[in-house]
Symmetry: C2
Subunit: 438 residues, 2 copies
């Protein structure tokens, strides 16, 4: 038996509003506008697109009826974020709604069937970069707010909305942001919808995230590319060295061979399941490699080759300590005659979310009301850098209640949002805001 | 004591012409025009530039006074070549002058200090892609012809000029060309200037070239890129597999570890010198590698990674046999769960040039006259695919008398031609044509 929501926190009118086809159609159109911004934070040439998405959102939050909607300037040249709030529920808790409007890179030639920034309706999905990660998901928060303000003219609790523009590059300025604006994001809990469900009709709340370390390894052997006919066999080829160094990261069975990597975590000799290996076990992956010339027959020995790699970390693994172990390992396997440079670009700690908190209880009730089944608590293999930072700095739990599906193709070509899950997500957030009320 | 040239083959007026500053200045201007064509045969987008260079050359050969200058259509969609001749010396031998007007790829961002296709005078050099390899070098042939025809109105022997447009991609249509035009290139000897001297003032004639094999290795593990947070640790990363497979090509000491690779050649356990390793010993080099994403923080596990590699082969090594050994090796080291595809794009055999031939003797005399010292006979580590084919098919030796210097940066950024060597090269070819006369 689920406890009733307190008086004055009745979501029924908002939910009825969210079910009207005309409203749904309008929302899909609005989300389509948001998805046209190529807000790729990893690529400097898309700086203006990131900013344009922020401006569009600031306007949208103001039109919803939130107060003080504005761009908050980025720190140290980072992109702006978007903030607005509604604080007219005295005595009620305040929930911070977090989302990120920046997206992963996407180019049609990577295998997209449609232009990644021309949102396309395919059956019950919208295909576009950012459709699920994370524009479509945080948009569900905004439409829950929309539904309340258009019907009741008020929200059941206080909310702050903060939308970030550099999550996909590891939120490098978030700590400085929290230093500069120590009170801006203060709340009783944070809600983040940037995770996936176990499957259709199987809602889940994520209670652990892997940490991450992103780094570059560059191997340089000469001052300039040389001709492989004239020098092949007599000079060191940095591609060969890089391949050998990267191959040394794992043993033949795929076990990580960096000394001390497993030091702080249980490393029983048992075989882990696929699910375990991608959620509660650490991993190191080379995400990209480049060197020399592959577009034609240019027989060079390049002066340099490089790889970008990332490690996924589990509790007890500290990114700085792991970075140091990787640095030592690469130093040990660097042969004479080359210069290897290992550079960390970003790191974030693994996160565990406490389950026993009023906001988490409210989330469980909200999911159960909206989906008819209680959520599963799941461990995610991904990393949402701000979740760790927000939880540690704001001292309140981050409720990871996401509405993505495992086949949303996030970070991959043909990313998509399943609309039935999106609309159910709106209802879930609507219930959540009511359930948070005292 | 060097024997005199036969009567009627006096190069003195041509040589005096080649030394006049006004003529040299005009030639530098002409070469500058030729170097502006971005005639990169490896890149389809430069097809029109390759053709434009051919057309410019056909016009230039006609203006020199050669007969029948024309574009010869390429075979199977290959680029056209350029042919012209002068055959008014009955009873005298015929020499085929070969050169190639296509060039290696070059982009300013690769480390060029100037635009690679805006030839720039820097001290006593011209900096441009193709300045030394091979536009500047075969241009010395043309200017020797120019000098004779402007002074004597005739050449001491018969010549055929054939300029090719796909040497840098391994002359893939040359065999078919020789099948289709069996008589066009028939001659008593071939002269190729596409090699380098031992150093300034140290002319050399190359008497062996390494063979070559160019191939791609592609490793594919999935249908599409996936997110390394969600899947890292649980799926096979094709970059890891590719690195491991490429690392297996050599042992720790750099010795090639492909079974049977050294089978037909003496492989004494002694240490080879650097010069030996780059000329008379075989080599395998990865010339390029690509996979995933290195331009930003895109944490993907790509579906595919690929490398382009080349082997340099020495006498007794057959490219087809070596290709098969590489294929077997890669098959043996391909782990379960991935598909590895090994594709040969071109191969050519190693070449040895006979030294005891009238044209070779003429070359030795010409070099000695022009430089004051006899040439060294050297072994080159490079590959000039047409040299092997021309020698085998035309049954006459290819005299490899080049005027490049070891620091010409061929196949690398800031390629350059040293003008003193170029002008001395013109005189050497002028002497050579006279010395070939009976």
């Amino acid at each position: 038996m689920i406890a009733s929501a307190p008086a004055g926190a009745d979501p029924s009118r908002a939910i009825a509003y969210a079910r009207q086809p005309a409203n749904r159609a309008r929302w899909i159109g609005q989300l389509g506008e948001l998805l046209t911004f190529a807000s790729i934070s990893a690529l400097p040439k898309h700086r203006a697109d990131v900013r344009a998405a922020a401006e569009w959102l600031a306007g949208h939050l103001a039109r919803l009826g939130l107060d003080g909607s504005r761009l908050v300037p980025g720190i140290d040249g980072g992109p702006p974020s978007v903030y607005a709030d509604w604080r007219h529920a005295p005595g009620q808790p305040t929930v911070l709604l977090y989302g990120h409007f920046d997206v992963q890179p996407a180019e049609q030639k990577d295998g997209w069937q449609t232009d990644p920034f021309r949102p396309t309706r395919v059956g019950e999905t919208i295909v576009a970069r950012g459709a699920s990660d994370d524009k479509g998901q945080f948009f569900a928060h905004l439409k829950a707010i929309d539904s309340y303000l258009r019907t009741d003219g008020r929200l059941p609790i206080n909310v702050k909305v903060w939308l970030e523009g550099e999550e996909e590059v590891g939120s490098p300025h978030l700590e400085s942001f929290l230093d500069r604006y120590p009170d801006l994001l203060r709340a009783d809990a944070t809600l983040v919808s940037d995770t996936e469900m176990a499957g259709r009709g199987q809602p889940s709340i994520v209670v652990s995230l892997r940490g991450m370390l992103i780094a570059d390894l560059r191997v340089r052997s000469g001052a300039s590319d040389v001709h492989s006919g004239r020098f092949g066999g007599a000079v060191i080829n940095p591609i060969h060295v890089l391949c050998r160094m990267l191959a040394s990261l794992h043993d033949q069975s795929g076990h990580i061979a960096v000394p001390g990597f497993y030091q702080r975590i249980p490393d029983t000799p048992r075989v882990f399941t696929s699910l375990e290996r991608r959620t509660i076990r650490p991993a190191i992956d080379v995400n990209g490699i480049a060197g020399g010339y592959v577009a034609g027959s240019k027989t060079v020995i390049p002066a340099e080759a490089m790889a970008r790699l990332s490690a996924r970390l589990v509790p007890q693994q500290d990114p700085r300590e792991i970075a140091e172990k990787l640095r030592c390992h690469f130093r040990a396997v660097t042969p004479a005659g080359v210069r290897a440079r290992f550079t960390i670009s970003t790191g974030s700690r693994p996160t565990t979310i406490p389950r026993d908190h009023p906001a988490m209880h409210a989330a469980v009730r909200a999911v159960t009301r909206a989906w008819g089944v209680p959520p599963r608590f799941t461990c995610s293999g991904g990393t949402i850098a701000p979740v760790e930072a927000l939880q540690r700095r704001l001292h309140v739990p981050v409720v990871l209640m996401g509405f993505g599906l495992p086949d949303d193709n996030i970070h991959a070509p043909n990313e998509r949002l399943h609309l039935p899950e999106f609309f159910r997500g709106v209802e879930t957030v609507t219930h959540f805001l009511a359930e948070c009320a005292r």
